[in-house]
């Protein structure tokens, strides 16, 4: 098919379709470039001159603030407080272990993505193009800068060593994962999930229902590996698969029963660590819930449709704070438990319920964008309705909404700052503890805020860059 229509790019934040125009990027000689971009007519020249003076002055003031006048002592002396709040200090090894394990998971995940891309490129008969190193550095510039600032503020070598080791772990797992054959990518993702859960439990402890969270990705991996065996008759194979998967769960159940170690109470997770954890958990939980709500809203069952729509519209109509206040005061009353849930659990539940409604609307947008012919084609080859949704509609819909989804998750991450209002000590709460100390009362207020803002900015900015890259890579809308 000829691509006569121009490629459109759907802006993830606004949902506006922008026709993309190919601008030939040509390198101009410096003089020409200046004339074209800064001095093309008299008023532009005037603006350029005035702005240059303004920018020079502001940059000078900013640089002087950052390097000369700013009182960074409140930040420098309280880095641990900012990072983990009043988390018990003799349990810090758990956080260190978590950082290492999650670095490994990140490395494995990126490796899995690369292996998957290589595999798809191979199938499509194309060459897999590796991004130049400079592009990678640019993409992660926010996080790199945050890391450098952190390390610049530390006084011991511990954080530096931790950074180097975790990067090494991540790279090692990346190296291994990116060389795995394409059809094993699913196993890598199961590994990522298991590592994520493990990293979570190393802090929270191995008890209660932990075996289930840990067991699901491993059991799925075992199930899929055994399923590859082609020598056994299918019906027996299916039995062996289910048996092995259940076996994994049983073994883990017993192990957790024996180990039964409680780590650090959830309510003791504080500082920037809390912001990241709460966001990660709420993201992981709100996605499936949002997906179900979106399918419900698009369902042909009027009852399901009305219920999903009501939920989505109510949640989208109220601010997150009202839900968090609900979590603070009485969300626990909805359950039949006498032992109160931890505030962390209640707040994360509120954030999950809130984000799910927005995720549902985003997914609905994606579902609407899938042409009706796709469903009809699926039906016409005799697929069951649920299979049509799962195998044909959803993959296309989800691919189209990845950028918007990342945008929503960035917004969720920024919203973790609201935990301050219900009295959780996240990064802004840690700031208040700092200024409660005698030495820093009313001292360096702007500096600690700038630092907190920078921490949020670095993570959000990197995520949004990454989503832009994903969007280009997936060629969203280019059909």
């Amino acid at each position: 098919m000829a691509t006569e229509t121009p490629f459109t790019h759907i802006d993830p934040d606004t949902g506006i379709a922008i026709p993309e125009v190919d601008v030939p990027s040509q390198k101009l000689p410096p003089g020409e470039w200046l004339r074209k971009n800064l001095f093309n007519n008299w008023y532009n020249s005037l603006i350029t001159v005035l702005l240059t003076i303004g920018v020079a002055y502001v940059s000078w003031r900013v640089l002087r603030f950052v390097f000369v006048t700013a009182k960074w002592e409140p930040v420098r002396e309280n880095l641990t407080l900012i990072n983990i709040g009043t988390y018990p200090r003799d349990e810090q090894w758990r956080v260190v272990a978590q950082v290492l394990i999650w670095s490994g998971a990140a490395g494995l995940g990126i490796g899995a993505a690369v292996a998957g891309a290589k595999f798809r490129a191979l199938q499509a008969g194309m060459e897999y193009v590796v991004d130049p190193a400079l592009a990678k550095v640019k993409r992660y510039s926010g996080l790199l800068l945050l890391g450098l600032v952190f390390l610049g503020f530390t006084k011991t070598f511990g954080p530096l060593i931790l950074t180097v080791v975790s990067l090494a772990v991540a790279y090692a797992l990346y190296w291994v994962a990116s060389r795995v054959a394409g059809h094993n990518v699913g196993l890598l993702w199961a590994g990522v999930a298991a590592l994520m859960v493990f990293g979570f439990q190393i802090v929270s402890g191995f008890f209660g229902m932990g075996w289930l969270w840990m067991g699901v990705p491993i059991a799925a991996a075992v199930y899929s590996v055994i399923g590859r065996n082609e020598t056994i008759e299918p019906r027996r194979l299916r039995l062996i698969q289910i048996g092995a998967a259940l076996g994994v769960l049983v073994v883990l159940f017993v192990v957790y029963l024996v180990v039964d170690s409680v780590g650090v109470e959830w309510d003791e997770w504080e500082g920037f660590h809390l912001n990241l954890l709460a966001a990660a958990i709420a993201i992981a939980l709100s996605f499936p819930l949002g997906l179900l709500l979106a399918l419900g809203r698009r369902s042909s069952f009027p009852a399901l449709r009305i219920m999903s729509t009501t939920y989505i519209e109510i949640i989208r109509g109220v601010p997150l704070i009202s839900l968090l206040l609900m979590a603070q005061f009485f969300i626990g009353f909805f359950l039949d438990t006498r032992t109160p849930l931890s505030l962390f659990t209640r707040a994360t539940a509120a954030m999950t319920l809130f984000t799910a409604a927005y995720v549902a609307e985003i997914v609905r947008g994606g579902l609407q964008a899938v042409p009706k012919g796709q469903t009809e084609a699926g039906n016409s080859v005799g697929m069951a309705p649920w299979s049509v949704t799962r195998l044909i509609v959803l993959p296309q819909a989800l691919r189209a909404v990845i950028p918007a989804m990342v945008g929503q998750f960035i917004s969720l991450f920024k919203d973790t700052s609201l935990l301050l209002i219900i009295g959780k000590i996240e990064i802004l709460g840690a700031r208040e503890i700092i200024h409660g100390q005698e030495a820093y009362r009313g001292f360096g207020i702007a500096e600690t805020l700038v630092f907190a803002a920078f921490a949020f900015w670095a993570v959000s900015f990197t995520m949004s860059r990454e989503s832009q890259r994903l969007e280009r890579k997936l060629g969203v809308g280019e059909r």
Partner: protein, 407 residues
């Protein structure tokens, strides 16, 4: 045997489909099951809530709304602690809207400027606009509000009220601005006795302005003269309103802010507290970064042929923007922009961090004073919900209208 015989189609009607495979039955069964599940879940949740509330001896009715609040609202001397919780809710709604409306104005103006600047042919201008957008939209609005509230006010460069900076009105003795780290004073208008007649004239001025605008439009339709209806209408309105003001002998007099003797508060004028300024300015600047992206996207979404056609009929750059590109772009931009406005109004609840007395803060304070939390939060949510649903209802009507217009 090349002859093919068509088998008669199996008689579908006569073939009994088992009830559990009948799609029609399954549809009904599935829906009933879903409804029963959800209703059952909701019933269980509310039953638990009521049981728990009864166990803790918390009232489950809304009677508290008509009882006195028993607390003072900060920066609001007019509020009587003996007034009912209902009145507190109304004060909260008023403050939420005051912050929302000014925030929306700031966000629209800054957002429009930054959005157009992002597309500037001047490299420096577009770069600076990009930096603005990327900086503001990746920082939580709460951090920006707290920055304004505590790093710029409270602990910032402004003096305490006793030593407030006072800026006089162009050489006169009157103070036009009182700047301190907690409150700002600005001049305001005080209604005189004869203001009633003035309001009548004011309404007449509005009617006259609308009439003139309609007349100019018709004239333009008939003769082809440029209508300039906005200019004409505003002019008519200003002339009649000003004339009315002088005819009744001054309906308003200016009230200039003055720091009181003991240096504790500002008398006269209009007093803005730091929570209000922080919330509106911070949210305005934050939302502007999102509005700017919408404006930029909408301008890019206008087909390039429109600009080229404008060039072809020799319109100047300003005319091209004013008459060709922007009207089309704003139509695309309107729905997402209104969403942002809604977000801004919901975000005014963050004013809680700088103790701005909007509805959320008042609800939280009132819960802290022993009012039942579930009902209080239900009222809070109902207020926001009512507003959001009204706006999205209007937006849906509007969307349907422009879709009809556009084939």
């Amino acid at each position: 045997m090349s002859q093919t015989t068509l088998e008669p189609p199996p008689d579908v009607e006569s073939e009994q489909i088992a009830w559990y495979r009948n799609v029609e039955t399954l549809r009904i069964v599935g829906q009933v099951a879903a409804v029963v599940l959800v209703v059952g879940l909701l019933f269980w949740l509310f039953n638990n809530l009521l049981t728990n509330l009864n166990r803790l001896n918390i009232n489950t009715d809304f009677g508290f709304l008509s009882r006195p609040t028993n607390f003072q609202i900060s920066f609001d001397e007019g509020f009587d602690p003996r007034s009912s919780v209902w009145q507190m809710v109304l004060v909260g709604i008023k403050n939420t809207f005051l912050a929302g409306i000014v925030g929306i104005i700031i966000a629209s103006i800054v957002g429009l400027v930054i959005g157009i600047a992002r597309l500037s042919s001047n490299w420096l201008v577009s770069r600076l606009a990009t930096i603005y957008v990327e900086a503001f939209r990746n920082i939580p609005p709460l951090v920006i509000i707290i920055f304004f509230g505590f790093a710029i006010f409270t602990f910032g460069p402004f003096p305490v009220l006793e030593e407030a900076t006072q800026i006089s009105w162009f050489g006169s003795d009157n103070t036009a601005l009182v700047l301190s780290n907690r409150v700002w004073g600005v001049p305001s208008l005080i209604a005189e006795d004869n203001v009633g007649i003035f309001w009548a004239i004011f309404v007449f001025a509005i009617v006259a302005a609308v009439g003139v605008a309609i007349y100019r439009t018709r004239l333009s339709d008939r003769t082809g003269v440029l209508h300039h209806r906005v200019r004409w209408a505003l002019g008519t309105f200003a002339i009649i309103a000003l004339a009315g003001h002088f005819i009744v002998g001054g309906a308003f007099s200016a009230s200039w802010p003055v720091v009181s003797e003991n240096g504790r508060r500002i008398d006269n004028g209009f007093v803005l507290n730091f929570g209000y300024i922080s919330t509106t300015v911070a949210l305005g600047l934050y939302t502007a970064s999102h509005v700017a992206e919408i404006i930029r996207g909408s301008i890019l979404a206008v087909p390039k042929g429109q600009s080229e056609a404008a060039n072809a009929i020799a319109l100047r750059a300003f005319q091209r923007y004013r008459y060709i590109v922007l009207p089309q772009a704003l139509r695309i931009a309107l729905p997402p922009t209104i969403n942002q406005y809604l977000n801004l109004i919901k975000n005014t609840s963050l004013g809680i961090a700088v103790s701005y007395a909007e509805i959320t803060l008042l609800t939280k304070t009132s819960i802290g004073n022993g009012r039942p939390a579930p009902q209080s939060i239900a009222v809070l949510m109902a207020v926001y919900l009512l507003f959001s649903l009204t706006i999205s209802f209007l937006l849906n009507i509007y969307n349907r209208r422009i879709q009809l217009v556009e084939r």
